[in-house]
């Protein structure tokens, strides 16, 4: 289906469509009044977003364009952030990694430093969509789209990622956990954008893992996602733990009871059983075509336990190296 200007488009015998009409597939066609802007600095992007109420951030657009086609209100200006160098860069400075908010997840999965330091976060990044989508999907988009089932937010949260946000009032840094506030809702003020994420190099004997259940092997949305990160002492006892669940509540759920059950213990036996029970109890899932409440709750417990187990194995393998 084409949408070139106001040119009528033949959609079959006796049917004519114009831009803005409804296509044979039932989508609203995109209007042609949208303007496209591609600033090269953060300041320019913030100015553009502040200049019109209906300006929208355009990064990978893998959620944005389908939403518009499904009938969401149409922006007047699309502000493409991908020509801003800072938004698409990966760098390591001392013990801190900085990842641009629009950096394609394909680049994240190919970065040896991130793969080594945050294997679970990289796994979560690689699970988003197909190779085609991997060229466009990003941590910033995944977080700001605020889908409860997004794959990377649980892993960003267990790794205590910080989000650098720019807006009309300058820049501020918040915990990544504070960005999404509900389905499709964020704490970003009008005119604010996610610029980059900061992650500290994990301490010694620390590693993360992410597991996701979907009904097929690729190209689906999480029924449940579970991220875990653990730090072990030289004897293999847990000294720090973080567990976060996706797709089982309006926002990512941290499970402090499960984390507390691990501290001071080997990540096995009773401690893991406590993790499973606490994770299941922490969920408030919905019933939908991908799973019932009871199923999601049970799977959340199982995935949390398995994610802790994998993270602990990795932490042991990593040994004293940070």
């Amino acid at each position: 289906m084409g949408t070139s200007g106001s040119k009528p488009l033949a959609a079959g015998p006796g049917v004519e469509l114009t831009a803005g009409g409804v296509s044979a597939m039932g989508y609203d066609l995109m209007l042609s009044v949208m303007r496209y802007a591609s600033p090269t600095t953060v300041a320019e992007a913030v100015d553009l977003l502040g200049s019109e109420a209906d300006a929208r951030v355009y990064a990978g657009a893998t959620d944005l364009i389908p939403q518009i086609r499904a009938g969401r209100p149409e922006p007047t200006v699309m502000v493409d952030l991908k020509r801003i160098e800072r938004l698409c860069a990966i760098s390591a400075n001392g013990s801190t990694y900085t990842v641009g908010a629009a950096t394609p997840t394909a680049d994240i999965c190919a970065d040896p430093g991130l793969v080594a330091a945050f294997p679970g976060l990289v796994e979560a990044s690689g699970l988003i969509g197909s190779d085609q989508i991997q060229s466009r999907s990003s941590w910033g988009g995944n977080l700001a789209n605020a889908s409860p089932a997004a794959d990377t937010p649980p892993s960003l949260i267990v790794n205590e990622a910080r989000a650098v946000i720019a807006g009309p009032g300058g820049e501020r840094t918040v915990a990544a956990a504070e960005v999404a506030t509900g389905p499709g809702q964020t704490s970003l003020a009008p005119g604010e954008i996610l610029v980059e994420f900061e992650l500290d190099q994990p301490p010694a004997r620390t590693a993360d893992a992410y597991l996701r259940l979907i009904p097929r092997t690729e190209m689906d949305i999480a029924v449940v996602g579970a991220a875990a990160r653990v730090t072990l002492d030289a004897d293999g006892n847990v000294t720090a733990a973080a567990i976060a669940l996706g797709a089982v509540a309006p926002t990512v759920v941290r499970v402090p009871e499960a984390e507390a059950a691990l501290i001071g213990n080997q990540p096995s036996g009773d401690a893991l059983a406590a993790v499973e029970a606490a994770a299941a109890a922490a969920t408030t899932p919905i019933d939908d075509k991908r799973g019932t409440v009871a199923y999601r709750r049970q799977v959340a417990g199982v995935l949390a336990r398995r994610a802790v187990t994998i993270a602990a194995e990795r932490a042991r393998e990593r040994g004293g190296q940070s």
Partner: protein, 161 residues
């Protein structure tokens, strides 16, 4: 609203076109440039029929706004053959009957080429994951996977000889 003038490189040749700010790159390629190989199956990035390569990245052109193509280098299915010589993937798809209705085929060819460019000798599993972003409702995928395996073997043999 004035239209946007875009200058880019398509299949090795300089190209320019006029588009609207809200027009997808898929629509611009088809309606403004006249390259109708890329198809719209879903319009939401699920089916891969609109797959192209832009600045070295495989992507769904239905999820890209056309003005974003300014200054980029684009490859489409139309650029795969060299004159009358089909690309080994195209030849193997034909010989292996890896298509029926053909709507998904340009996307599969572009995605399979991107896969082989990155990984010249993929396993069957790697092919199936690598092409998970392309849907085919006719073939059941087995013939497509075998055609990609055959093309990979052929390309590797040619490069080694």
């Amino acid at each position: 609203m004035s239209r946007v003038h875009v200058t880019c490189t398509i299949n090795g040749d300089p190209a320019e076109f006029l588009c609207d700010g809200g027009q997808t790159l898929l629509d611009a390629l088809r309606d403004e440039v006249g390259l109708t190989g890329a198809k719209e199956g879903c319009g939401t990035g699920d089916c891969g029929a609109c797959s192209i390569v832009m600045d070295g990245r495989l992507l769904c052109s239905c999820l890209v706004l056309a003005p974003e193509a300014e200054g980029t280098t684009i490859s489409t299915v139309e650029g795969m053959a060299s004159g009358d010589d089909l690309h080994p993937l195209q030849q193997c798809f034909l010989e292996g009957a890896a298509l029926q209705c053909g709507v998904c085929t340009p996307g599969f060819l572009v995605a399979a080429k991107a896969l082989l460019d990155r990984n010249p000798e993929p396993t069957e599993t790697e092919i199936r994951y690598g092409l998970a972003g392309n849907l085919c409702r006719c073939t059941g995928y087995d013939k497509i996977v075998r055609a990609v395996q055959a093309a990979a073997t052929q390309i590797t043999a040619t490069n080694e000889s």
